[in-house]
């Protein structure tokens, strides 16, 4: 399924330069909340979270949302939990930045 949100090009996957960035914190929340046995920095920022890619189920997605809310201090509205938001970590990070700017 094609994404509807435009994503600025970045350096997906190399993990360089995003220590402490929103992307890095989401990756670390992802690994921790789902107890994935992997190094968060090896997760590419452009890997889809649902369907293809990581293939998270709806329960895992909600667990991830809970962890992101807590680590980044935002509230994700239930109505925002849609397919587009979980296209990849980059899109989710853009959403978080938007939320942080608005608060």
């Amino acid at each position: 399924m094609e994404g509807k949100t435009s994503v600025p090009p970045s350096s997906p996957g190399d993990g360089k330069g995003d220590d402490g960035s929103i992307e890095a914190r989401i990756k670390s929340a992802l690994v921790k909340s789902l107890r994935l046995n992997m190094d968060p920095t090896v997760i590419p920022s452009d890997v889809p979270l649902i369907g293809k890619g990581l293939g998270l189920d709806s329960v895992s997605v909600l667990q991830l949302v809970g962890a992101v809310e807590e680590t980044l201090g935002i509230t994700v509205d239930d109505t925002d939990i849609n397919r587009d938001l979980f296209q990849n970590i980059q899109v989710l990070a853009d959403y978080v930045r938007h939320k942080l700017a608005a608060s």
């Binding site: 649902i50 293809k52 667990q63 509230t75 939990i81």
Partner: protein, 565 residues
Amino acid sequence: MSDVLQVRMYEQLEDTPERRCIGFLSPDGEVSWRTWETFFRHAAGRAARMQAEGLGPGDVCVLVLQSKEFCASALLAALMTGAIPLLVAPPVIQGANTSLGRILLRTVRKTRAKLVVADASLLELRDRLERSRRGTRYVFGDHALDGGDPSRVSPVAPARDDWAAYQLTSGTTGFPRVCMWKQHKVVAALDAMMGAMRLGRDDVCFNWTPLYHDMGLVNNFFLCLANGIPLVMLSPQAFVKRPALWLRGLATTGSTVTWSPNFGYAITTKMARDRDLEGVRLDHVRAFWNAAERIHLDTVLAFRDRFAAYGVRPDALKTNFGCAENVGGATFTDVDGSFAYEWVDRMALQEKRQAIPTPPGENAVAIVGAGRPAPGLEVHILSRTGRRLPDGHVGEVALHTPSRMEGYLDNQKATRRAICGDLLRTGDLGYVRDRELFWVGRVRERINVFGKKLDPSDFERALLHVEGLRPGCFAAFGVDDEGRGTQRIVVVSEVREPLARDVEALADDVRERLQQELGIDVSEVLLVPKGTLTKTSSGKRRHRHFRELYLEGRLQDNRLQLQNA
């Protein structure tokens, strides 16, 4: 006492209008209580709006709503009009499950629903829905039923043989069956549960399970409203995001009884940290009921050990077996004791269908008991030919029950399979020892993930659309995921040869298609060469057979390499 649900509810309202009826716990842990008077007045306003939309006694009212206050209120409102409520699961991740539109359309057509109250996220389906059937009205969003005059709605008193509610249950053709429940059968189920759980007005029930699941609908909402027991609700999403909310909520509301499928206990044990639970005491919780999917001994023991310091008592851990066809629960752990389990010989269980107690070890398997029959109910174990089996012998679980469904709507074949003389055949496999029911599986292979039940044959249609697979040459099964306390789904399929596609892309297609069509997430897709599945087995037992081969690691050797073919 009346054997009509609405009459029972109105009796509670008249008895104690100022008492706490239902409370809603917000994601930040605040509880908002509604008295009986307030909850019924709000619902009556919504019932008036439903009547204005043409809803009347005996009409079907479909609710596709997140399990929050509006859903609870709309459900009561539908009952107040004398309509037959039917709840359908809305999507958790919006836009990710396109099967919902199809399931909803079929449900509406099949039940000739008069009114559909749907979540605002379904507005995009509006045109498609409205075109499909004349005579069905659709309203969307939490404010769709605002502004009604509560005084226009007078109490209804349906007859004992009228329909109380319809309930969706897993089917075999990708479409759920519709269980039909009569009024006096629903009340019989509630009475049996009251007796088995020994609930009283000093209890407070806490529920985070969805209202569209019979655990939320019957074991909590109907049970509490018909018996004057305060009910606290937390949305399932809020629970999954922060499972500690469940335990905190139990403490702050003084709740005494709560329900969850096995996976809820597993994620709470893993996710709730000590710093989330400061000051929480759970000594007053006398029953943590575990039901609706396979109960893992490890999950329950880990929960007990993790939260013992917070006051979780071993004798508060309870198990239950029930099904939508029985309306509510059938077997229950004793009120005064802890759940039962035993170790039995693995080989004898699989090959001889006999449960022979044996010491724990490599050749033993732990089976968790699901409790003993509720008052007025008998459990029988049937052989393949329908003969009653003695203790310790595995067969189909059949119930002699006062709360049996009437049948499946417009499905005589399935109804005849389930209702056999005076018995309800559940399709579950188990054995009995000293009146305790031990659940071991399903007669037909069934996948059970997060309390949701799926028949492997549901996958067939969805997989037909994936280019590169051999039609019908697949197996789908659930594999216990001890870590998460539920099952993960594995799909094995043969591919067409020569395969003109990348194997990985093909596997992605399979996941994507099953997510769209069935709303499920497959954890592993195993693509194998032509002949791997077809040579060995076919028919109904195929899924079970390949599940066994998979667990022995014998299918994985045939996996196609992840490269261009």
